[in-house]
Amino acid sequence: MTGSAVGFLDILLLIAFSSLFSLGGGNGPLAIIQDRWVNSGLLEPALFSWALALGYLSPGPKAGFLSAIGFYMYGLPGAFAAILGIILPTLIGAGAVSFWFERLQPAIRRISLPAGFVIAGMISAAAWNLAVPIAPGPVEVLAIIAIAIWVWWRSPEPAFIVLGSAGAGLMLWALG
């Protein structure tokens, strides 16, 4: 768990803002969280990874990982703030698109194309910054490359990768 430097409103606002980088299905919020809270030392990289892993293992929208992030930052109120933070902009977006679909679609389509590449860059930076404190060895770097190629090529269910990684960890621990 991390410090109380971040409060309910901070969590709500950052998550709400970060949802803007979900355009076209990209997971921009994780990059924003990584940048604002993990890089600044407010949230431990291991807890951030753990929250993501739990999100991949859970049913429903992957945004569920935000509840763990909020919890690590500010306890149960933080978890609620994080969920509220992702729901509010979605609510506004759902209403706006329902009413003004025809008017909004060309503009959003225009932004969506470059947004995909920008979000890819943001996610790459998040992955890089997550890897730095872990300092992976050569075998682990190869594992990261192999997983990245597999995901890019075959789009496997992320839960399998998380479960496989956890299983590998258990085996390594058992082998001493």
Binding site: L113, L130, G169
Partner: protein
């Protein structure tokens, strides 16, 4: 990234329908069930959604569902969540959207929260440090893979693709070098809007 052309029939299908008889409690229950039993994101859940919303309940037609799924990609929010919000809005306007969003979000949020409380790597000893480490390796691979997948899924020409990859690399490079990520992203987005244009449809 969506490249769907503007379609006036989609716009009609997004308008609130005359289904105000749908009780909010039922809407909540069905979306909670969908949230609790769907794995793999919005596209993987298509059949389950159709079964619940089109076949069993008759709240939407198959075409309505497709229109809502297309529109959900336009909302800057997780697609699955956006879809739920739009279904709620179509059935019961704002109250329906609020109920739908919370109902679809509660199952994953509770699962993750329970995992975070019970399996806290800071408190548990034993294999947890090793498991956390290998899971982190897996998550890093997943993130890089997702970034590559995001680039691959763009339906644009070669020139735009090369520009986009350069843009993404510049955003990543500047953020890794220490520039504020949000500034890098906004500058990248502005440049991208100027440089990367949708491929014209032959029709």
């Amino acid at each position: 990234m969506t490249t769907e052309p503007a379609d006036p029939t989609v716009a009609k299908r997004l308008q609130p329908s005359d289904t105000s008889h749908v009780p909010l409690a039922t809407l909540s229950l069905i979306l909670f069930k969908i949230g609790a039993t769907s794995f793999g994101g919005l596209w993987a859940a298509t059949q389950k959604l159709e079964q619940e919303l089109v076949v069993k309940r008759g709240w939407l037609t198959a075409a309505d569902q497709k229109a809502l799924m297309i529109a959900a990609t336009l909302i800057p929010a997780p697609k699955f969540l956006a879809f739920g919000g739009m279904v709620g809005f179509r059935l019961r306007r704002w109250p329906g959207s609020v109920v739908a969003l919370f109902s679809i979000m509660v199952p994953p949020a509770l699962c993750v929260l329970a995992g975070a409380i019970i399996l806290n790597p800071e408190r548990l000893g034993g294999p947890m440090p090793q498991v956390t480490h290998t899971v982190s390796i897996g998550v890093i691979g997943l993130l890089f893979g997702n970034a590559l997948h995001q680039i691959r899924s763009a339906q644009i020409g070669l020139r735009e693709r090369i520009l986009g990859i350069g843009l993404g690399a510049a955003v990543a490079g500047s953020a890794i070098a220490g520039a504020p990520l949000i500034v890098s992203a906004l500058v990248g987005l502005t440049l991208g809007v100027c440089l990367i244009r949708p491929t014209e449809d032959p029709a």
